[in-house]
């Protein structure tokens, strides 16, 4: 299966993507992640202003069957939350890369980006699955 994996995004090994625009990072889950999850029926996200830490859980997505933690690609402060997902969690399945973004984070340090994967490396990761 061919997944849409934008070249300019960063990726976590837990299948989140991070799109960096100066110090603002938009976070979502990858197409691979949504395929594995199945139909998303519930999304739990942090509130604006909340501090988050790289590599720790900042929310969950649930399919009918399972609960999956969301892991933060960078440390910082949540400045915007995609509240439309609360009412329409299925849009995460339809367009995880764009409409299905989860949160925007004001990043503390861009040095942390070095801990993330770029597209070629992430493609290799999911090729083994």
């Amino acid at each position: 299966m061919a997944y849409h994996i934008p070249e300019d995004y960063y990726y976590t090994k837990e299948h989140e993507w991070a799109q960096v625009d100066e110090n603002i990072v938009t976070v979502g889950i990858t197409e691979f992640a949504q395929t594995q999850l199945g139909e998303v029926v519930y999304v739990d996200l942090p509130e604006e202003g909340q501090k988050v830490t790289q590599g720790t859980s900042f929310g969950v997505v649930e399919s009918v069957k399972a609960v999956s933690d969301l892991y933060c690609p960078v440390s910082g402060t949540v400045i915007e939350v995609n509240t439309t997902l609360m009412d329409d969690p299925a849009s995460l399945n339809d367009d995880p890369i764009n409409q299905g973004w989860l949160v925007r984070i004001e990043m503390d340090s861009e040095k942390e980006l070095a801990n993330l994967m770029r597209a070629p490396e992430y493609k290799k990761l999911i090729a083994d699955k």
Partner: protein, 360 residues
């Protein structure tokens, strides 16, 4: 890892395969929600070949089953089936089962959970009261056909008039040269039944059901939807609602305990606990605030005190709402009692509701 006779068919159907109780099983095909709703609306096929079958035969068959199970096997006539439990000597449960009477007094088939098959087989051998025991688990495939159009499909393919049968009846026949036992039982709350068929013919039957069911809207259904369908009915699943320390009265299964009719393993501890007064009971609840309850989440009263725990929880595709099953202290089990479920540290308001969760 074991595979059912339908493994290759699942792969052909593009199923997502997962490990379940040592078996490679389809968890979903087209999508859990679609499959679930299709069983409620049309008809679905389930591969349940992983379930175990223990044959109990001979002059001491009835004595053995009466001792090992809680329901009254004497009451079963040829062609009838009954839901029952295998208690342990401490009054907990080894498994929940269905007993099929193939020949009164001398020939019974016991269908057991895949996850408990090895344990149950040892339990039967250890506590046998002189019956001839045969583990036929690998000899049989099993296909469940469930939904409002299931009876029509079963008749089309096997000729059995399923619509003329009451629930929990069986019919044996030769189907295209193979042994077939049809039972009007199921795990979804829908019409239809479960078909035991010789392993070598299971794939042939599966494919004929799929082909001849096209115009009825048949779909193959994975274990994911099997679980949400049974949860909407509040049917027990071993390892969730019941386990080796469960009291069947607390689990709401008192209707299959027949202490007046007979003696059985674990009878004294089971009955004593009821006589002393049950301290908890199994309830169904819906969340009022957003959140999905899951197994082992804790249940609380409105003051925050822990009053129980969740045994099963999911998003109900039929209701498009979060539902849960759990044990609570008996004083919180009345309908409409407000409780909370702790979901990742947040107390989510919920209400005890009537079950089954759906009107069927």
């Amino acid at each position: 890892m074991q595979r059912t006779p339908l493994y290759n068919d699942h792969v052909k159907l593009n199923a997502k395969i997962v490990e379940f109780a040592g078996w490679e099983m389809p968890i979903q095909y087209s999508g859990l929600k679609e499959e679930h709703l299709n069983v409620r609306k049309n008809v679905g096929l389930f591969d349940v070949s992983h379930m175990g079958e223990i044959r109990v035969k001979g002059p001491h068959a009835i004595k053995t089953l009466q001792w090992l199970t809680t329901n009254n096997v004497e009451a079963l006539e040829k062609g009838q089936a009954q839901y029952s439990l295998l208690p342990n000597s401490d009054g907990g449960l080894v498994d929940d089962i269905i007993v099929y009477c193939l020949e009164k007094n001398s020939d019974y088939l016991v269908c057991v959970n895949a996850s408990n098959e090895k344990k149950d087989w040892e339990h039967f051998q250890k506590n046998n009261q002189g019956a001839e025991l045969i583990n036929e688990s690998s000899a049989w495939g099993q296909i469940a056909v469930q939904g409002p159009k299931a009876q029509e499909l079963i008749e089309k393919v096997t000729g059995i008039k399923a619509s003329a049968m009451k629930p929990f009846q069986t019919q044996s026949m030769k189907w295209q040269g193979s042994e077939l036992i049809f039972a009007s039982t199921g795990y979804t709350g829908e019409k239809g039944g479960e078909i035991f068929i010789e392993s070598s013919s299971t794939s042939k039957l599966w494919n004929q059901l799929l082909e001849k069911g096209q115009d009825l809207g048949v779909l193959p259904i994975g274990l994911g939807a099997r679980d949400t369908l049974r949860t909407e009915m509040k049917y027990s699943l071993y390892g969730h609602e019941i386990n080796d320390v469960s009291n069947p009265y607390e689990a709401g299964l008192g209707w299959v305990i027949k202490p007046a009719a007979k003696d059985f393993l674990g009878k004294t501890p089971i009955v004593t606990r009821k006589e002393q007064g049950l301290t908890r009971s199994l309830i169904g609840f819906k969340t009022i605030e957003r959140g999905i309850p899951r197994q082992d989440y804790t249940l609380h009263d409105l003051a925050g005190n822990k009053i129980g725990f969740v045994t099963s929880g999911t998003h109900s595709p039929s209701l498009d709402a979060a539902i849960g099953i759990g044990y609570v202290q008996t004083q919180f089990s009345n309908l409409s009692t407000e409780i909370t479920v702790d979901i990742r540290g947040k107390k989510i308001k919920s209400i005890v509701c009537k079950t089954p969760f759906i009107n069927n």
